[in-house]
Subunit: 380 residues, 4 copies
């Protein structure tokens, strides 16, 4: 219950699950705070959704989720937004009765590493035992659809953002600049722009997959072009809001900014980023702060890393609990799964970060002064 | 932008307009905070939606809005809610191209009594000039769908609520108890339970309709069974929240509680409701407070009256402004309209009041202790 | 609990009661969202607080509340705000032990017309039975202090607002323009700018006071200079927010906008405000809408009227309930009271309206674009 | 601006800075959502405040902040809370004119590692250049005072929480159970319950201090007794809210839950916590999840680690920027500082976590069903 809305001035509300009832079931997102006059189309949203689409490569689960989106509200007759909230719906297609029956069979068994047990304690027997309900990774399609609009706005503001894999198991990519990472962004299935390392990562994931296992990793998220002075002091620091946004992704077990946990072994003068003249503009010699000081943006790149846990669904016997009997019971291996989330989850991280930055911009400038399009007659 | 979400613990978010783009356009509502284990169905929602449906009687506009609703998310496999947000969509059907073209023709002319001028100043040229967009009365279908769920919850809590017409132009109904009003609730098109007066009201509306005019009136809203002690002191008094909820309906130009504006000519001891023994329970001799003191419920009936303005669309020549030229220009009479809103708007008032009361109950008790259904394994 | 915060971008949080414990007890307000660079001083806040100060005239209670305020946070070294929240505290002085003992004596008796009964049902025996706690009229000093800052901001934006008495019992003031009302604003104790009628009203109040009774009335609130296009459609209409703000004042039992309840007996074309050329600017022939259409500002004056109930404390025997015995019990007359709230409550109404308008402006423009003062180095 | 309020049902709003103007300047917190009937006293709050008090040991800065708190509102005559918001004020004492003059001298120089530059870009020249204003560590006294109340409530709910140092520079404490950590909690200045390692850490900090430098580290936070099922799915996962709360502390540059960043190199079955029978109750074999799955509590201990950066104030020459000239300029060493934040910041982390857990409990159960005290007459 609740918790399905995110953002203050730019705000998404999501709903829906994979195994909804009836023909027209689906997932939907309402995006409030979209400025009037913005060009939007189903295709533009679809492009982002396709980033997190499973079933297309060797590293992904064999499910087919076509995730075709449709903007059903908020567009004017002339192909631009009106200032009304935008509604997007993605209908379910892969919801055969056979799957529901499979889930029903095991509904009293709580899988290790999944949210099921907590959900039963929270919602009781009525909780959605089919396909993980709102705890399913598929819940994130609404976020990605909303993030697609946020990215449109950021582009008009000159702000770019990308997320990519920097670690998979014990294999670590080399450090890259924003431009280097951008060059090879989404060039391979694991989305690691260090092409050589990517190959090793993919090989490692396939080995692990063959063991019936899954692999963890680290995603890096970079945001370029954020003006200095963004965020609120005290409780709504930009770092706190980004943390809230990104830790709301189920598989994220940690987040760090700039030097992150390395600051633990740094002295003050090592960690402080000294000011420097950057071609006539004020900048910094280093970026240990990750572009955020006192939670407020410094104007430098915002850099974050996210710890991504291995998919909890594995083909290995595990001790589960049976809610009916409250006894420990062995759970049989499950075969349909993603061997790693790294090649898909970056799209969700990008979406949440994009929404957070647009929201912060609107808090500062008002929604009418972010991405102000050519639009006569406005006075406010 | 924004403002499309209402409620704190029980919360609706609405989206959509009558003349959306494409085949699948429609209006939708996401209801967050629905307890797990609640029985819901399309039919149950539909029943409420039908209350505000136009096009069925002599007092209504000839538009055909079938308003068929569909729950597309939030239901479990067993026909009860899961605790996830509930998503409802109502597809548009009466959106022929011919109407869009008519609206386009007059899009630069701001109609007196409508929100158009303010919308142009707020959103500029990109605002939705077609069918009034989010300022259309049709926006309220999402509210009514959400209110249908709230009413289900109230019923389980033993709380009843009805709204009905007590004044239409200069014709005023006699005072009625809750039970008297309930007996003849929705027995006539103008929804006035004083059957004789209703007849006079309907006759008056038809005369006014024939003049090309529209009629105002007053709606009374009664809520029975609210426990004493509900609402928060200071800014979120139950009266303030009900005021917020009901004044968010476009045509409502005033609200009063209990004796309302009559208190202006009352002395303290006349207005104070003395305590009384009511069959062994604490009650009150009178109910001038309308069931709310210091904004907190007293346990007596909550009584409110709403001033409903006449539909602004009239078949009379009026001075408008042309946004292109910024010149005053005559607006031709418009023929398709509701001669009065009284026979439909009560459904919206009921919905908003129901949502507000459920929200206040959940604030006090937590969502898990409102309408707690049989639902094993819950601990929270 | 909760409900002590109001506003989204410009936000006040209040705390405190008249009979707090210990030497340093008092009432306080934290005002968040104050732009940097605004000139503020204790004196400026005090000026507003003095408007609602009791104990100075024949129409007021003999209590002495000096209400001296002190800004204790949020000011920079140079006498202007810094952008940090502003903290204001008003220490209690008139809290002699004798009063506490008097209140203790009657703490189980719920006075008719007061919030006590609901508070006991909500908070139980632990509720603040001394001086009405947070349900006391004195709670409003924090609002007025916060409103004083809002008014400073409105003044810089060219927006003026005043509230004044238009009815007291059966005596009704003549209609006045904003300028006429402003000319005699606060020229008499009852704050009715129709000077002749004011005299009659005051005479009537004194008669009623002699009977041991109190008098109700109506306050009118006018806001001039609000730009067209302010407010959000749907749930956060400017009318809904103003309604929320003003109905959160304990004694307000009704609110109406423009023609208000008179719309009930108006035809569409009578109620619609036709557009008109006003010295080369777009305006309206009439202002039945009260400056708000579809809840969005039209650019015309915002006009509201509030029904103010008579002070519930009267010197007349009334039936009360004793919480210990749950029996009906006679309550003795109480002598210390305001014979009417009209001469003080307008200050609270002005404060709440001012806060609401500033908040709406900041939602539209962002806090950085409202009352943007000379302030170098800002980029956001 | 804004961002000074945290929490939904249990909510703190803070205000104030170290170098406020005038005699009565100070820091304050308003705590809304405190249940009626809770015993509170200045002493109880003071105990928590003393945890973060500087100036008492060799590892702390020589500033004297006595931080004497005073509850000025929200208490009833009988020594328990009334359900009204609680107001606490902490007056400034160490605000001699000499310090203000020192700060004024360097006000245009932005110190590396501090929030100053971002604040100037956000608030402009009017920002509080004295003692870091709201970006000062001293801002956290309001949080700790509010947290003291939250801890009282948690104690009544059987929930315990502690934070302690597990790493300082390259020195890492051994792993400890909750009970082991509790036994030596706050037994040394660096607050590391591994007593031997603590000695080494303190020695290391003193060496670093002698170099004019400061030291980073890692804090671990453990919460015991949280029931399974707490938190909301999707955006308001308990992990996301805890992340928001803890990343709002200025010096925190990273947070991880359970296995945290170690999950990057874990296979699914290694990371999954299998269910186990724990003396007849359902539990887990391991706690890699840190007590949170899908963001919902599992009933196991909640375990978090926070990366704490070294104090940015160092006695080493650094390149700064002068806002007046926008030129790079050398900043002279500063002598007054904390050589590490580890011995103080844990109190702030505990406070924020305690507030978050109480807030989540109240969301689930309503404020009236958390720590429900003996309190007659309540119905809601």
């Amino acid at each position: 219950m609740l918790g399905n809305t995110f953002g203050r001035m730019f705000r998404i509300t999501t709903v829906g699950e994979s195994y909804g009832i009836g023909e027209g079931s689906g997932l939907s997102v309402i995006v409030d705070g979209v400025p009037p006059g913005l060009k939007l189309s189903d295709d533009l949203i679809q492009e982002e959704l396709d980033k997190r689409r499973p079933g297309v490569g060797k590293l992904n689960s064999p499910r087919k989720e076509t995730d075709k989106c449709h903007i059903f509200a908020g567009m004017g007759q002339d192909g631009v937004t009106t200032g009304a909230p935008v509604g997007i719906i993605i209908y379910n297609v892969d919801t055969q009765k056979i799957h529901v029956d499979q889930y029903r069979q095991y509904k009293d068994l709580c899988r290790p590493g999944h949210a099921t047990y907590g959900f039963y304690k929270k919602y009781g027997e009525a909780q959605d035992w089919c396909g993980a309900g709102r705890a399913s990774g598929r819940e994130t399609v609404g976020r990605v659809a909303g993030g697609a609009i946020a990215k449109q706005i950021l582009a008009l503001e000159g702000i770019e953002l990308i997320a990519f894999t920097v670690q998979c198991m014990d294999i670590i990519a080399k450090e890259m600049t924003f431009e280097e990472a951008l060059e090879n962004y989404r060039k391979n299935e694991i989305n690691c722009p260090d092409m050589e390392t990517a190959e090793k990562m993919e090989k490692r994931v396939l080995e692990i997959k063959d063991e019936g296992e899954t692999a963890g990793g680290v995603i890096e998220l970079r945001i370029k072009g954020v003006p200095a002075g963004l965020g609120e002091p005290v409780f709504d620091k930009l770092s706190a809001l980004l943390g809230h946004a990104l830790l709301s992704i189920g598989a994220v077990k940690g987040i760090e900014f700039g030097a992150g946990f390395k600051v633990a072994n740094m002295k003050g003068s090592e960690n402080n980023d000294e000011f420097a003249d950057k071609n006539g503009r004020i900048g910094f010699k280093t970026n240990n702060s990750g572009g955020l000081l006192g939670g407020i943006s410094t104007g430098d790149e915002i850099v974050m890393r996210l710890a991504i846990k291995p998919t909890p669904t594995v083909s290995v016997r595990q001790d589960s609990v049976n809610m009916q009997t409250m006894q420990i019971e062995e759970l049989n291996p499950i075969t349909r799964r993603d061997p790693t989330l790294l090649g898909r989850i970056y799209a969700v991280a990008e979406a949440m970060a994009a929404i957070t930055i647009v929201d912060a911009l609107m808090m500062a400038r008002g929604y009418d002064n972010v991405c102000r399009t050519e639009n006569r007659w406005r006075e406010i």
